[in-house]
Amino acid sequence: MTRQDFLLRLRSGLAGNVPAEEAARLVDYYDEMILDLMEDGRSEADAVAQVGDPNDLVYAAAGTRPLPAPSPTSTLTRRRWRWTLLILGAPLWGSLLLAAACILLSADLILWCVPLTGAGVSFGFLLGGAISVIASPLAVSGAWALALVELGAGFILLGLGMIVVWLTVQITRICWRGHRALFQWGLAQLGRSKAVIA
């Protein structure tokens, strides 16, 4: 990103979210920082990257600026307005929220498909192996070779089953971490302060 692009995005993001005077001060501050970094030997792109993402700077500026203390009457009126707008806008934000929740749930289900498949495969191997081993003495009366093959196949299946169980446990741990990260990210989005970025 060039210095001009950065300043344009910062200026657009700050407009309406912080008072104009404060926005001008912030833009001047970061512009001065970029120029100082460049004077110190950094390339334009490096200097801009070091200053940070303009969106994050806007969020920080919008979240920390001191707001005038509202009067009790205006607070009540604002709260009523907020609830009215919230209810009127429910068809829009409600459907978007539902869609986002469904996407999150789908991602989580896809995540758990892997360990679930592993559990199914390992269960099949272990069950097949156990039946094969237990049933092999019954085949002895018919043919020794058949019984031996059945016993061997049973042990192979049991071994494969144990390997898949171990793999499934490892994958489940990774999935659990992924599941937690996914939902923590989802919850963090709800609490994150919002700003309109042009």
Partner: protein, 113 residues
């Protein structure tokens, strides 16, 4: 270092950086100890707050054909630094209490704990 501790120290470190003479944003960051991990975005609200409460004043000067904002330590800023230094006696008292307790920790840790 603990982030809350850093938060408390950064303001005074910035004031200390200005005690040597007037300075500008980028220079201040370079003059503060790296352990404080002062960044461009964390410096702005600190300077802004100190400017608002009168601990620093600002002026602009032309540098290489562009305007650069300089910060100057005010009388209130000097007083704030002195107050911090005198308060440090109390911090040291707490530190010694924690230090003494920490020295006892290996003896307290037994198989039943």
């Amino acid at each position: 270092m603990d982030s809350q501790m850093k938060k408390g120290l950064i303001e005074y470190s910035v004031l200390a950086a200005l005690a040597r003479g007037d300075s500008y944003g980028y220079r201040i960051i370079k003059d503060c100890p790296p352990v404080l991990e002062l960044t461009l975005s964390t410096l702005y609200p600190i300077l802004r707050r100190m400017e608002t409460d009168g601990r620093v004043s600002t002026y602009q000067q032309t540098h290489n054909g562009r305007a650069r904002k300089y910060y100057r330590l005010t009388t209130a800023g000097r007083a704030s630094m002195r107050a911090f230094v005198s308060d440090w006696q109390d911090v040291e008292t707490v530190y010694h209490q924690i230090e003494a307790a920490a020295a006892q920790l290996p003896e307290l840790e037994g198989p039943n704990r």
